[in-house]
């Protein structure tokens, strides 16, 4: 057994070191800190003359000229994939046995609204279809505010949490929804659209409703649960 165990202070120094080298998320910092610490301990054991800082630099060199950046980037891809897998799973559940009734009745309601809306008398009825979108966007902004507050308090960033509250990369859906709201009237207010198209639109709108619900309500609400599954260290820290 080695005697040169690093102190709590030195461990904190390595945390600072990883942050200085652009590892922003606590989950990855923790893993790299343990790795570097193991390497440093081995070096100090083999060569007790070495200083802690020298050993740290030596260990960092082993990561190559790009340092940690490659690891950070690939970790982000991996979690992005995982995030979309969560969504896909939740989405599939809405096309499973009990929930399919909700999905189908949603398609039916949207279809009826759009159908009525294609007559002149009820031409503004399709605006109703946009209401859930507005609700989703408001909730998305609320989530973002809450997450910002939480970040201030906890000082630790978790990559998966960021994916959940950032809705994958770049708020794709929010953009999509806003675009739909802005341009929706061109799609929704076409007169004498064939019924098949109306049905198709009703179906797409429903899928987007569901996707929005999952991304904006379902996942953020269960973030804690997903995080402690993903990060056993979530509870230790």
């Amino acid at each position: 057994m080695m005697s040169n165990k690093l102190s709590q202070d030195q461990i904190q120094q390595i945390y600072v070191f990883t942050r200085q080298h652009y590892v922003e998320h606590y989950d990855l910092q923790t893993e790299l800190v343990d790795h570097l610490a193991n390497g440093i301990e081995l070096q100090l054991h083999e060569n007790p003359q070495l200083s802690f800082d020298e050993a740290l630099q030596n260990e960092f060199k082993k990561f190559g000229i790009f340092g940690f950046s490659d690891i950070v980037e690939k970790r982000s891809w991996a979690l992005e994939k995982k995030y979309w897998r969560f969504i896909w799973k939740a989405m599939l559940s809405f096309f499973g046995i009990p929930k399919i009734i909700i999905s189908l009745s949603m398609v039916y309601i949207v279809y009826q609204i759009l159908l009525l809306g294609s007559t002149e008398k009820y031409a503004y009825l399709p605006l109703l279809v946009l209401v859930p979108f507005v609700v989703l966007v408001i909730k998305a902004f609320k989530n973002a505010r809450m997450y910002k507050k939480k970040l201030k308090l906890q000082h630790k960033r978790w990559m998966l949490e960021e994916k959940i509250f950032g809705y994958g990369s770049g708020m794709v859906l929010i953009n999509l929804i806003t675009q739909l709201m802005l341009n929706g009237r061109y799609i929704l207010f076409v007169e004498n659209l064939p019924q098949v198209y109306i049905l198709l639109i009703a179906f797409s709108v429903t899928v987007i409703y569901l996707l929005g619900y999952i991304m904006i309500y379902f996942l953020p609400k269960r973030a804690e649960q997903f995080l402690s599954q993903q990060y056993p260290e979530y509870r230790l820290s």
Binding site: K5, L6, S7, Q8, I11, T30, E31, L32, V33, D34, H35, A37, N38, G39, K62, F63, G64, F66, D70, I71, K74, R75, A78, L79, K81, K82, Q230, Y231, P232, E233, L236, S237
Partner: protein, 110 residues
């Protein structure tokens, strides 16, 4: 790891096999184990190991555990059920590959 593309392609299998044999392991332990097992010939770089681990984990092949060890948190990886199946499959695939290559490169003239 030696720079060869051949080794890079096998990193996933190496990790899976090590975890199958040793139960749970942490990153640094894996690099040391590979060094020891290969008599120092094979060296997995840190820059390759962690992306490979994270990828396998995101694919559901590995699960993680964390424990407090010597003032710090250590993250262990171990095979999930689907990871165990995958290990067997990939090892079989690799064995077949090696056999085929051997036949191709060293044909026995009878």
């Amino acid at each position: 790891m030696k720079s060869s593309q051949l080794y890079k392609g096998s990193l996933g299998v190496i990790i899976l096999k090590l975890l199958e044999d040793n139960g749970r392991m942490y990153g640094y332990e894996i690099t040391q184990k590979v060094k020891a097992l290969s008599g120092g010939k094979l060296h997995i770089t840190e820059g390759a190991l962690y992306p490979a681990l994270h990828k396998l984990e995101a694919e559901g092949m590995l699960s993680v555990e964390a424990e407090k060890v010597d003032n710090r948190i250590r993250k262990y990886y171990k095979l999930t059920d689907s990871g165990e199946v995958e290990t067997t499959n990939r090892l079989e695939e690799l064995d077949a590959f090696i056999q085929n290559m051997q036949q191709l490169l060293h044909p026995k003239l009878t």
